[in-house]
């Protein structure tokens, strides 16, 4: 009997904290594989990687919560990255330039980038919500459209050099802590408040949980989809600005794996792919897990290809642990 109780306790702990437990064991294993994992330099690297995935995955989470998915996140980030550099080299022959020439003051450029991300999100949300087209198809189309625009604007070239503020945001640090972490925290708080303390948040969860019943309760499909994709687009644009700052370029190729990574982070964070369930805290943990998986093998001398194979295998193991964990709850 006593043993049964201990088992019960263990199970409850596992159910509640399994993501955290997986994260902790992952950190320990990483340290065992490569002691360099726990070092300041690696922390900086990890933090930047995690912030970028983390911000994008919160947008991804919102899209998934509505029962959809946002495949255009990577392309939107690339477009925003290119646009920022383009606006800062306004009027000058594209290519390598030493002098920046802004189209407008920097805050306006930021607003333009973020606003465009939001506007595109609204457009996809409108198409999905009003015409009742599948999220997957529309955002897949968006992926190509945005990628194409990001390529055309600089004529397929990389624009070198962005302003110092952007560089600080993307690559700077306050004391020992990279600035991107603060951006990530700020975004997380905003999304947390939206999901938990606004009627929009409740509507997003409700719609993803049961679209038909939600509409029968007066929830507007159009509003839910447009808001979720607008926020997701805006966050992707923010990631684009961070990319520009970190690499000091406007490059249309950035963010190519952003969509996969943020999707993975959202799923590992316990977001239900069918919508309606998912929490900010879970997605943050999921993000760190993804960042570690991508980081740890880079510290070893393994050839790049086996690294990817190992990453894949580890992902399956973690997902199996998470999902099987859920099954225990039902039995």
């Amino acid at each position: 009997m006593r043993q049964g109780k201990a088992e019960e306790m263990l199970r409850i702990v596992w159910l509640k904290y399994r993501q955290l437990l997986i994260l902790i064991s992952l950190i320990m294993i990483s340290y065992a594989i490569s002691p360099a994992f726990v070092s300041y330099i690696n922390f900086i690297y990890l933090a930047r990687l995690a912030s970028i995935i983390g911000i994008a995955s919160l947008g991804m989470m919102l899209a998934i919560l509505t029962g959809g998915i946002d495949l255009s996140i990577g392309s939107m980030a690339a477009l925003s990255c290119v646009l920022l550099a383009y606006f800062e080299h306004w009027g000058i022959y594209l290519g390598y330039v030493e002098q920046l020439s802004f189209i407008a003051p920097l805050p306006v450029i930021y607003l333009l980038c973020l606003g465009l991300g939001g506007a595109f999100g609204l457009l996809w949300g409108f198409i999905i919500g009003k015409w009742r087209l599948p999220d997957f198809a529309v955002t897949l189309a968006a992926l190509f459209i945005l990628k194409g625009i990001a390529y055309i604007i600089p004529h397929g070239q990389t624009i070198f050099g962005v302003d110092s503020v952007t560089k600080f945001i993307g690559a700077g640090a306050i004391g020992p802590i990279p600035f991107t972490i603060f951006v990530w925290i700020m975004v997380s708080v905003i999304i947390y408040v939206i999901t938990n303390y606004t009627s929009l948040g409740k509507h997003i969860y409700a719609f993803g949980g049961n679209p038909e019943a939600s509409e029968a309760c007066g929830v507007s499909r159009l509003k839910v989809k447009m808001s979720a994709y607008a926020i997701s687009g805006m966050l992707a644009a923010l990631v684009g600005i961070l990319y520009a700052g970190r690499t000091d370029t406007g490059d249309y190729r950035v963010g190519e794996d952003l969509m996969q990574n943020s999707l993975m982070a959202a799923l590992l964070g316990g977001t239900n792919i069918f919508g309606g369930e998912g929490r900010v805290a879970g997605v943050i943990i999921g993000t760190i897990i993804v960042a570690i998986i991508f980081n740890v093998f880079d510290l070893t001398r393994l050839h790049p290809f086996p690294r990817d194979i190992l990453r894949g295998i580890i992902l399956i193991i973690i997902i199996a642990a998470l999902i099987r964990g859920e099954k225990i709850k039902k039995a």
Binding site: Y197, T198, K202, A213, E215, A216, G218, N272, G276, A331
Partner: protein, 494 residues
């Protein structure tokens, strides 16, 4: 006495924080209808889930054909233990025939569609149901889906069939056919577990009855040794009058016309005229296929209205969507509560405030404290059995789910309430509570329309009754002038 097919001995099932079953003994003999009764949350569903291998018991053993078994869903199916679930588990995008023959498709590799439809039509005909087998399940009504679930068992070789509220969504005629079907299964020496809230039918078809209360067996007796009041005593643990005194006690205040429908047409509905006054409970009675749910959905804006006008307090209004309906103060408790009513992943609180959420806004943000206190009040008033307002609705039992939707509309300011089968799958005690809540709502000046195929229900709560038959209103009666035989004559003989 011969050995039972299945014997469950000392079954205990614990969930974190709850003991759902406590030392339950239950057996099923061949060719017997063993009824399982109890209030919502008494543990009937849990027991069935253990029997079908979906749950493992915490303690106790299950003996099938004299052998102890460690059941899982696959093993239970192999042993022929089949369940017809309360909520249909069907593939919406396949046809009726494909769903019925899911496991037993004719043909080895390639399916012969013609043969498939033939077989299906034949079997449906034999058990007395007419259904278009080529129709997509998506387009089937709740009752038709139930029939599909029933037809399925005829293509398997069951040893034990569990019918969980099998007649709940059905009209009177279909119910009779289900009884006949049960009789047939009995003759084939199949053991039947029959779960129902309709106690009359238990006396009609049952052989033995086991009553559960709070996870424990209160009695197992041959049905002949029991009478109705005794059984209700076992189920509820208190004496209850079987039939509520009709509404005569409710002085239906003749107030002003609140809501009116004129010449409404929407396939299959034709020229519907209907009036509801303030503080009045109007019943719309109709058998399966009469168009009852369609009418509710048309008023609520889910179904397109082809022709006709709707008036609210004498003003003409247009309803194109549920959103419009809610804006005009209309609320719907849908027949299919899982599809149109509830968000299973959301909490009780979130489900209750959903259509009304903007009333809880302070500037931009939600006032969670006020939500909590309002919801708690309704959980208490409606006696919703849930550990807290933060419980996900998917974990509630059927009757409690129904009360959550009821709470949703009572909590809103909406004053025209459409209740489509408000007590479907709800136990006797909750049923009485729901009737009282409906009456209370009307006493507070709301106008209520109850859509039901349960005549007792209509006669118990309504002040005025419309009889719907094949899409038309064929009779309007004041409660004083109505009784069972008058109404049944209308719909059965015409």
């Amino acid at each position: 006495m011969e050995e039972p097919i299945v014997k469950m001995v000392g079954i205990t099932k614990e969930f974190p924080g709850v003991r759902a079953l406590n030392n339950v003994n239950f057996d099923i003999r061949a060719g017997e209808v063993h009824c399982l009764v109890g209030l919502n949350g008494a543990g009937k569903t849990t027991l069935v889930k253990i029997l079908t291998g979906f749950y493992k018991p915490t303690k106790g053993k299950i003996i099938v054909y004299g052998k102890e078994e460690n059941l899982n869903p696959e093993r239970a199916r192999r042993l022929g233990i089949l369940r017809v679930p309360q909520d249909p588990e069907l593939v919406e995008d396949l046809t009726v025939a494909e769903n019925i023959l899911m496991v037993n498709m004719p043909g080895k590799i390639f399916v012969n569609p013609r043969k498939m439809y033939e077989i299906c039509e034949k079997v449906l005909g034999e058990i007395g149901f007419n259904l278009d087998v080529k129709k997509l399940v998506r387009n089937c009504s709740r009752a038709e889906k139930q029939i599909i679930m029933l037809a399925r068992i005829f293509f398997s070789q069951p040893s034990v069939v569990i019918l969980d509220e099998a007649t709940a969504p059905l009209g009177i005629r279909e119910q009779e056919r289900v009884y006949k079907l049960v009789e047939e299964l009995k003759n084939k020496n199949i053991g039947i577990v029959y779960i129902s809230h309709r106690l009359e039918e238990i006396f009609k078809i049952g052989d033995r009855v086991t009553a559960l209360r709070n996870g424990e067996v209160v009695c197992t007796k041959p049905i002949k040794e029991l009478d109705l009041n005794e059984l209700i005593y076992y189920i509820a643990g208190e004496e209850l009058k079987v039939e509520e005194v009709a509404t005569s006690a409710r002085k239906s205040m003749k107030k002003e016309k609140l809501f009116e429908i004129r010449n409404l047409n929407s396939d299959p509905l034709k020229d519907i005229n209907l009036i509801v006054k303030q503080g009045e409970i109007v019943g719309v009675f109709g058998l399966l296929g009469a168009g009852k749910t369609e009418l509710a959905e048309a008023i609520y804006g889910i179904r397109k209205i082809e022709k006709g006008e709707i008036y609210l307090k004498g003003q003409k209004i247009t309803i194109n969507s549920p959103k419009d309906a809610i804006r005009f103060g209309i609320g719907l408790l849908p027949e299919d509560r899982d599809r149109l009513g509830l968000i299973p992943s959301q909490t009780v609180a979130e489900n209750i405030i959903l259509p009304n959420i903007n009333a809880f806004k302070n500037f931009l943000f939600l006032d969670l404290k006020r939500i909590r206190s309002v919801v708690r009040k309704f959980i208490k008033d409606l006696n919703i059995r849930t550990p807290s307002e933060d419980q996900q609705v998917r974990f509630l039992s059927g009757g409690n789910k129904q009360k959550v939707i009821l709470a949703r509309w009572l909590a809103s300011k909406n004053d025209i309430l459409l209740f489509d089968e408000p007590t479907k799958g709800v136990d006797v005690v909750s049923k009485r509570e729901i009737y009282n809540l409906i009456k209370e709502a009307a006493d507070h000046g709301k106008a209520v329309i109850v859509f039901s195929c349960d005549l007792d229900e209509i006669l118990t709560v309504c002040d005025r009754i419309y009889v719907l038959h094949r899409g038309r209103i064929i009779k309007e009666l004041e409660r004083e002038d109505a009784n069972k035989s008058i109404i049944l004559e209308e719909v059965l003989l015409k």
